[in-house]
Symmetry: C2
């Protein structure tokens, strides 16, 4: 009865409305912004109404039935016509002269004369130019040309027409064919003045510079404005490409791990927890009990391993209530997590990561050319360099490289962001790769459940993985015996009684194991060398942003 999944309660209508009201208030911007937007929208709607009233399909037009606004009643699942629809992306395959029916968004409308106009139609990453020329043969009147030129940008329209080859090669569209329009109907009008202009939102830095040199001032759409109007911003070619790339990364992650006998699982995000949890957790009440949102599926994926699942992975949200206002932190992100039994050595985990990421990179390079080119047009980047067999360096070797380059690092401390960046550059110079594993981290900088090294307990069987000088993966062998786990927890100042159930679960027969976690948004950001993680999260959450 509800919008998705199990129904909430018997009083369906009331409950559904209430529930939706909650979900929907997510879209609510600040009150000030809201009022401003409301005024703007009202004004725009009135303008649209005026425009529509000014242009009725004139009674004296013999071709009046070939164009017009389709009333909403017609779109309420009235008919199943069986008509066949063509995708803009498939148009290249159509022979010139073929009739097609296309639904798309009016990306650009260019009146040429009373008798002629161009309408550029868009579907996701593809566009096609549609040509209207008034002619009795074609059933196109001057009134119809006027109707088309008066459409607002970003409206949804249905076009029937004939595929033709343009005389001159087309710019500004992704197709080498155009459509000679025979009929054009508007399905849903956009308001005449949108809060952001798609053209502005799609420009590259180079275009801005070129315009500036020419003394021209182009409108920039800031990151916040983009996110406020994400439903429009998502339509830019780069954004259409970014989230398709993200989907491909996740697909390949799953596909590779499934082929290696991993099982995909789901673990709870609502977990028991109290104030001891520290500042970094989101706290809430769960039926009166203190609870919090999971900061990682760590415990649960380990329990699945103890539960006999041998190799598991999870794709799911991870919550961090940190006040980190950086280009690379989010309060909610998509975690790609894996955990596996190991026979002897945590390099077995590293080998999985090696195979997994090399296959992801290859897949993107080989199968997502169009998406990568599209991102490159707005945000130019150098292709990621990686080796067939991923480079592994010890933490000590990394420190040594930095030292030789003049950066002193406390040997038992951690690398800061700056040092990581520098190490990334040094490794790229020396080994020719943007992607490498740094392993054997000091005990002091890893969580208590990390397995110490057998030969030197000041180090651990752990690793981080870097892309372009930024950490994207953390992983390690975990402690699988209750005695050592309790000892390490105590050494880290943790009250063992608060985690007794966790520790005990390793006394029920636990195999040696290890695993890792990756942030999906970071993988996409760093593969494409984007400068902000908000570009790779569809609806990002940071300390300042909870909407839309």
């Amino acid at each position: 009865m509800s919008s998705s999944g199990p129904p909430p309660a018997p009083s369906a209508a009331a409950a559904a409305a209430e529930e939706l009201a909650a979900d929907l208030s997510a879209a609510t911007l600040s009150k000030k912004q809201q009022k401003k937007d409301a005024r703007k929208a009202e004004k725009a709607e009135k303008a649209a109404q005026r425009q529509q009233q000014q242009q009725p399909a004139e009674a004296d037009d013999p071709f009046a039935s070939n164009y017009g606004d389709v009333p909403v009643e017609e779109i309420q699942s009235k008919t199943i016509s069986g008509r066949s629809w063509t995708k803009i992306g498939d148009l290249e395959d159509c022979a010139a002269g073929r009739s097609v029916l296309i639904r798309g968004s009016t990306q650009a409308i260019r009146p040429v004369s009373k008798k002629m106009a161009f309408v550029v139609l868009r579907q996701s990453m593809s566009t096609v130019q549609c040509v209207l020329v008034a002619s009795a043969d074609a059933g196109v009147s001057t009134q119809m040309v006027r109707f088309a030129t008066a459409l607002s940008k970003e409206s949804i329209v249905d076009v029937e027409g004939v595929v033709s080859l343009p005389k001159e090669p087309l710019k500004a569209t992704t197709q080498q064919v155009e459509i000679q329009v025979r009929k054009i109907y508007c399905i849903n009008r956009a308001i005449p003045t949108l809060p952001i202009n798609l053209e502005d939102a799609a420009r590259s830095e180079a275009e801005f510079e070129k315009a500036e040199q020419a003394g021209e001032k182009l409108v920039r759409v800031g990151q916040d404005t983009r996110l406020n109007y994400r439903a429009i911003d998502l339509r830019t070619p780069a954004n259409q490409a970014i989230f398709r790339i993200q989907c491909q990364v996740e697909n390949k992650f799953r596909e590779f791990l499934l082929s290696k006998d991993f099982v995909g699982i789901h673990t709870p995000k609502l977990i028991s927890g109290s104030s001891e949890g520290g500042a970094a957790v989101f706290k809430l009440l769960y039926n009166g009990q203190p609870a919090c949102l999971a900061q990682s599926p760590q415990l649960y994926k380990q329990m699945a391993i103890c539960g006999g699942y041998e190799r598991v992975f999870e794709v799911g949200p991870v919550f961090r209530a940190e006040n980190s206002n950086t280009h690379r932190h989010l309060c909610e992100f998509v975690g790609l997590d894996a955990e596996m039994e190991i026979k002897e050595h945590y390099f077995e985990v590293c080998d999985i990561i090696d195979g997994l990421f090399v296959s992801i990179f290859k897949h993107l390079t080989e199968n997502c050319e169009k998406e990568l080119e599209t991102i490159n047009r707005q945000y130019p980047f150098e292709p990621l360099k990686y080796l067939e067999k991923t480079l592994k360096l010890t933490y000590e070797e990394g420190i040594q490289m930095l030292k030789e380059a003049g950066t002193e690092i406390e040997p038992m401390g951690d690398l800061n962001t700056e040092a990581e960046k520098k190490l990334g550059r040094l490794v790229k110079e020396k080994y020719g790769t943007d992607f490498f594993i740094l392993y054997r981290y000091p005990l002091a900088v890893r969580p208590f459940y990390t397995m110490p090294c057998y030969d030197n307990p000041a180090y651990t069987n752990s690793f981080d993985v870097f892309i372009r000088g930024e950490e994207i993966i953390s992983g390690a062998q975990r402690i699988h015996t209750p005695e050592l786990l309790a000892k390490r927890a105590t050494e880290c100042g943790i009250d063992v009684s608060t985690i007794s159930a966790y520790i005990e679960s390793f006394s029920y027969g636990a195999p040696p194991h290890g695993g890792f976690g990756v942030g999906l948004e970071r993988v996409v950001m760093l593969f494409c060398a984007l400068n902000n993680i908000r570009k790779t999260s569809m609806f990002p959450r940071d300390p300042q942003r909870l909407v839309p």
Copy 2:
């Protein structure tokens, strides 16, 4: 630096420990249970230590190096031996006489004499019988037999041995071969008395009845006890099968939709919200702002459609703070959601569901035979009956069928659980299917954003989908024009100003669209005719349960 994904904060060690402490406290049971468990564990550990002390690999045993406990130092990633490991599931393919190395859990240990013992080793859903016979030729001493028989159940052991064909066919193991043990090492001991016994947890109802008839009393493991010790309970064959089936349902869901040009997306679970949200939302503070957990990705998947993504799906957690203590409700479940542009009719959405679910059912039946048989052994069920082309009935037809069978339903009201069950039986009798779509629901029982029918606004372009008389999917055409949306919201008593941003987003150029939502746990529960949704959630959350 952290266990998974981006690191929390610069002070890595402290932060990581703190963070983990929060995650780990999820495992904390009630204080009473905790203390009880602690005492039990302590006692058991002491017993294990005594046992170990009693059985040192005796100095006068020439084969002492062929068995024993492996100290944890040896498992701290000390060596990469390059040895090859055999999976129990692959043993059938091994020729008799071949040497193998296997790591597994000691599911059963059966002493026969001082000179002979059996150890049944398990890996996920496969088991194999290992035979120890003291003999100088084999390098097996009576001390080694004693070491093996003194192992606790569920311990992790490495066995080296030779594949052989048993004289008599084996019961109790899934293999038709056995292993003649040459070496046996314990990697990690389980405590001697586990809180639940795997044998008890794996019994079918039929076994209990049979025992009862024989005057024997078998131990039952209740659902709550199972969940309290889920890391053990997950090892039963049925549980190993259930979550593999769950993974396959998700895989097929993704695979089918990807093949139909859907893009997988991720939408935020933390959303802006205030107390208006009603009782069914989990509320929390987000950096001082009121926030709540998403009850569905409804708004966001619609925004993705408005954002030009044409067809999207999402797999992610859904949160419902309802006090529903039923066999089919959870407070957190995995939602499978989809949303798509429609050209003319919401039956385009129904067609996707038809193809999707028929392909899921076929995939499970054809490729998950072993898992389904395994579930069937503990929880017998009739295979799901479905048609190649899914049956669609109108809501009115459904009501009429119920009426004819003596159940009166208020025609503009909703079906209760009982009526749904009955309708399921009637449909199965008449049409021979457990799976069907009921469409054209009354307006009064659907959310305000549901598109009314063009010919009668008291009904909607909506549907529910049923498996074995229980609703699993809800879907509909959505309203795509701001005017109608505002009108419907007002009619439903919603203050339009609170959802203005949502309504406005349809004025930026929104295509006609529809979609649906499914609960992953329900699909698995109903496909396998299981009687409780807690059986198909790895770590379920209901009003009473937040741990582990």
